[in-house]
């Protein structure tokens, strides 16, 4: 089952959403989340999410809002990528 998750990433031709992947693999979404978390711990998948907190830390004085949290960044969806398939 764990291998199926990695295979789904490898064989994906276009971005998938988590709900569709759970349906495709015929597993519950919490179980899929667990398997993804496992592969993230193993370093085979990578999770990323652009959030306001990253702006607060990095934007600093150059940001439109000064030192506070940058207001111009919504919480972007969490995305999970296969590691080691990029050049």
């Amino acid at each position: 089952m764990l291998q199926q998750v990695l295979r789904a990433f490898e064989e994906a031709r276009e971005p998938l959403n988590l709900v569709d992947l759970a349906r495709q693999l015929d597993v519950d979404q919490p179980a899929l989340e667990g398997m993804i978390a496992y592969w993230v711990r193993k370093g085979r998948l990578k999770e990323s999410q652009a959030t306001a907190s990253s702006c607060r830390a990095e934007c600093g004085p150059t940001c439109a809002s000064g030192a506070g949290p940058c207001p111009f960044i919504g919480k972007m969806p969490r995305i999970i990528t296969l590691v080691g398939t990029e050049e």
């Binding site: 276009e14 652009a50 990253s54 702006c55 969806p77 969490r78 296969l82 050049e87």
Partner: protein, 579 residues
């Protein structure tokens, strides 16, 4: 979902692994059982932990007397399993546990033959549909800009009247009271600060409407879908799908969008996305579009603004496609999964927080960066470099600002806006895009200042503010049904109002500089504003993230692209007989 056979769960359950793994577990358990110090652990549990490589327990075994035979059995077992499965042993064991749990769940749960779709699922089927997704995204964006321009315009005019009338009157009265009327201080306050900062603050209602619409889209969960849909398009074009996430952030402000490129894995993708982000039209550019679209395309201002935003996306995708197949060639295989949050009704509090944070940020900028720039521009406009004027009492054409801007102006002549006024606004726009509007407001405001208002009392002014607010509210309510083509009050029959003050001066300037093709020149100007360097903060962010070389590549590239695109719009439009 029904749970059956719960009684069976009272008995202890052992996960049964594949026979070859069970054989190794038995061997290892036996060895552990023969080591007295390890007998405080359940032998099978310890065997599994050791096979999975638990470092703490491994150390304990190494330190235990007679631990060596256990380690020998462990090493042999690991070697045999690796040879069979060609995979880390902890992966094999975890995989088999998941299989066991999955089988168990299937045995004890009866699920409906077909899963019931949630409302989110049903909506997602439409909005993330392969064919419908992009048209729906475009339609929503069109609605956002239609709302932004049509609904907010009456309030824009109200703020403009309040700043240009009552506020200016009262400040002038105050300056007169302290004996500063007619001095350079009055010029600084009226022509510098009020014209510059006020000229930008006029657009607060427009931006609040934009932020309101974006907050609703974000809080409802749609923005994630928009990113998903556009990701798919980017992926089809051979671009990195994840690039669109920072690009969507760029609609608000390009600076955090540049930093958001850190979510991309490779340096090439980060730089490529960083080069594309500035083409996403940030909210600071909106006042420029609204100002010029209202003057030159009053009946289609929403469509013009929407078109400019779309042009930004098309330019980014087109450039990305070209760069991806030349400078940034990679073996592009970056499959990914995106989590789409469930839809929910946005809360008033959430929407207000989003809207207010962004509006407050805009107002803070008006009070800092824009005020400082306005004062600097006023100073340049006050210093005479030719003619016989004096400080703060000179013809604008003779000012230092006109002289400096005049040097750059010929570059823009083929684009239809080769006047020192327009080119001066573009040069100051490097500081921040709102400054384009504040500079135009200062230049054209001074040009129109002969229309001095008659003296009024504070009560008159307050009365005017309240009355015109009520008028703006009525006009806004009239405008809402008009968005979908319903004319409840016969408003379309009303004549278009003549542009006043600043707008008339701007219109006249574009008409003159373009040889009578003012609308085309204004369109070319807006295209240039869309595509050239957003602001110094973006340049600083690009330098920090990608280094000097790519920063310069980005700045020069944007200028060249903006110039060519504006040229195509102006000269192409003239050839086709438009404008």
């Amino acid at each position: 979902m029904t749970v059956i056979g719960t009684a069976a769960l009272n008995a202890p359950i052992y996960v049964r692994y594949q026979p070859d793994i069970e054989d190794e577990l038995t061997r290892l358990s036996t060895a552990i059982g023969q080591t007295p110090l390890l007998q405080r652990y359940h032998p099978r549990w310890l065997a599994i932990q050791l096979l999975e490589g638990d470092s703490g327990l491994l150390t304990e075994v190494q330190n235990a007397p007679n631990g060596a035979p256990v380690l020998q059995v462990l090493n042999d077992s690991q070697a045999r399993l690796r040879a069979i499965y060609n995979e880390d042993i902890d992966v094999i064991l975890t995989d088999q546990r998941y299989r066991f749990v999955n089988t168990l769940v299937r045995r004890v749960l009866t699920r409906p033959a077909t899963q019931r779709e949630t409302l989110s699922d049903r909506v997602d089927k439409i909005v993330t549909h392969r064919l419908l997704g992009i048209p729906i995204f475009l339609a929503l964006m069109w609605l956002v800009f239609k709302l932004t321009t049509d609904v907010a315009t009456p309030y824009l005019e109200w703020v403009e009247e309040a700043i240009g009338g009552p506020l200016t009157n009262q400040l002038v009265a105050l300056l007169t009271l302290i004996g500063l009327d007619g001095t350079w201080v009055e010029s600084l306050v009226v022509d510098g600060i009020i014209a510059g900062v006020g000229g930008v603050l006029v657009f607060v209602p427009v931006l609040m409407t934009l932020y309101l619409a974006l907050a609703i889209l974000e809080d409802s969960g749609y923005m994630a879908r928009a990113a998903f849909v556009m990701d798919r398009l980017m992926h089809i074009l051979g671009l990195h799908g994840k690039s669109f996430l920072p690009m969507i952030v760029g609609f608000g402000c390009n600076v955090p969008a540049i930093y958001a490129t850190r979510t991309l894995e490779t340096e090439k993708d980060r730089i490529l996305t960083g080069l594309l982000v500035p083409f996403m039209s940030c909210s600071a550019r909106l006042p420029v579009y609204v100002l010029l679209a209202t003057i030159f395309f009053p009946a289609y201002s929403g469509l013009v603004v929407f078109g400019l935003y779309m042009l930004g996306i098309v330019a980014a995708i087109g450039l990305g496609f070209a760069l991806k197949h030349t400078l940034f060639k990679t073996k592009d295989r970056v499959p990914f999964i995106m989590e789409l949050p469930p839809y929910h009704l946005p809360t008033l509090r959430g929407i207000w927080t989003h809207m207010w944070e962004r509006t407050a940020s805009f107002i803070r900028r008006a009070g800092t960066v824009i005020m400082a720039t306005s004062i600097l521009i006023w100073l340049l406009m006050a210093i005479p470099t030719r003619g016989d004027g004096a400080f703060a009492d000179t013809e604008l054409d003779d000012s230092a600002f006109a002289t400096v801007a005049g040097v750059v102006a010929p570059v823009f002549a083929p684009l239809g806006f080769g006047s020192w006024e327009a080119s001066g606004a573009l040069v100051t726009g490097f500081i921040a895009k709102e400054v384009v509007v504040s500079t135009m407001s200062q230049i054209y405001g001074v040009a129109e200042e002969e229309e001095a208002a008659e003296p009024t009392t504070l009560v008159d002014d307050l009365g005017q503010v309240v009355t015109s607010f009520a008028g703006a509210t009525i006009d806004t309510l009239r405008a809402i049904p008009l968005i979908i083509g319903i004319d409840l009050m016969g408003t379309e029959a009303e004549d278009e109002a003549e542009p006043a003050g600043l707008m008339r001066a701007a219109q006249s300037n574009f008409e003159v500089s373009s040889g009578g093709h003012g609308a085309l020149a204004a369109l070319a100007f807006m295209v240039f504003v869309l595509l050239y360097t957003p602001c110094v903060a973006v340049i600083a962010a690009a330098r920090q993230e990608f280094g000097n070389r790519w920063m310069w590549f980005s700045v020069v590239g944007q200028l060249v692209i903006a110039w060519i695109a504006a040229l195509v719009v102006f000269q192409g439009g003239r050839l086709l007989g438009w404008g």
